[in-house]
Subunit: 144 residues, 2 copies
DNA sequence: GACCTTTTGACAATGGTTGTCATGCTACAT
DNA sequence: ATGTAGCATGACAACCATTGTCAAAAGGTC
C-alpha cells in the first residue's frame, strides 16, 4: 500500500562507492560498517569511515542491501540476492547466512495487524542459530 | 535443548530496584533506559543512570522483561505479561504495544531451521505499524 | 578546460551504554 | 541492636558506533 516508488535517485559513480560495492559483492555474510572499512584499509583502498557509513546508508535506503541489527545494537549490511521481502537465518558462530522467504509469515503478520486495526505495517524477523558445520565442530553433545 | 535453568541469581532488594520495578509495572509500552531514568528523576526518586542500565540488564537476563531494539538501535524494555515466548506489535507514533503469540511462526522457524540443519535456534520478530487511534488522527487518506 | 554540484575525508560532536572505584546499604551473624 | 562482608550504588570518565561539519577534491556537462 503506497509504495512510494522513488526511482532511486541518480548518483555519481566514484571510486569509493565502487570499492564498497565490491566488498559487498564478495562478502557472503552480514558485515558491519566498521568491518567493511577495515577491509578496505587492509586492501590499501583508503576510504573515509564516514563515507562508508553514508554509502551503506544510501544503499540500504534504496533497498539494495539488507540491514540487520546485531544483538549488540550494531548495524550489519549484506547484499540481498533476491529483491522481494525476505528474512535471514544467521549462524551465531560463523555468521553463515541463509535467506528465507516465508509467505506464511507475511500473511500471518498482515492478518494480526488487520485484526488489531494496525495499518501500514512492516516487520522484522531474524533467526539465529548454529549452522551444521559449527555444530559439528564445537563438540556434538556436551554443549560447552 | 540445554535451557540453562539458572534459578535467577539471588539479589538484594534496594530502593533503586524497587523504583525501576514500579515504573515498569506502570508503563504499558516499551521504554528506554534513558526515559525510565528521566521519569525517576521527575518523581524525585533520584537513581543513577548506570544503576538503571544495570537493573534493566539484569531483569532482561533473567527474562523478567522483554528487550527490543528500536530502529535507531536503542534498547527498549517492557514487563512482559506472559511468560511464554511471544512477540510484539508496536505503534510507530504512540508506542502502543500488543502482545501476540504465534504458534504458527514458532513452528515455521523450527522447521526452517531443521531443514537447513541449524540447531539451538532462537528468533526475533517485531511488527511495526500505526495503531487505529493514530491512523484516525493523522488524516485518513492523503498520507502526508 | 571551465564550471557547478555532489562527494569525500578528517575530525569534532553526539548519544547510548559500559567501566571504574570509593562509598553506602542489605543481609545475615553475633 | 551491632558488627561485618560483600554486593549495589552513583558520579563521572571512557567507549564506541554513528552522525554532523565544512573546506577541499572529483564527477559530469557544456
Amino acid at each position: 500500500m503506497s509504495p512510494q516508488e522513488q526511482p532511486v535517485k541518480e548518483q555519481r559513480r566514484t571510486r569509493q562507492r565502487a570499492a564498497v560495492d565490491e566488498v559487498l559483492d564478495e562478502t557472503e555474510d552480514f558485515i558491519s560498517a566498521q568491518d567493511l572499512h577495515a577491509i578496505l584499509r587492509t586492501r590499501g583502498m583508503s576510504v573515509g569511515l564516514a563515507t562508508v557509513y553514508r554509502t551503506l546508508q544510501t544503499l540500504a535506503d534504496d533497498g539494495r542491501v539488507d540491514v540487520l541489527r546485531t544483538a549488540g545494537g550494531e548495524a550489519a549490511y549484506r547484499r540481498c540476492a533476491r529483491d522481494e521481502h525476505h528474512h535471514h537465518m544467521v549462524c551465531r558462530s560463523c555468521g553463515a547466512t541463509v535467506e528465507i522467504a516465508g509467505p506464511a509469515v507475511e500473511r500471518w503478520t498482515n492478518s494480526v495487524a488487520k485484526e488489531h486495526g494496525y495499518v501500514d505495517v512492516s516487520h522484522t524477523l531474524e533467526i539465529f542459530g548454529t549452522c551444521p558445520r559449527c555444530a559439528a565442530q564445537s563438540g556434538g553433545p556436551a554443549g560447552r
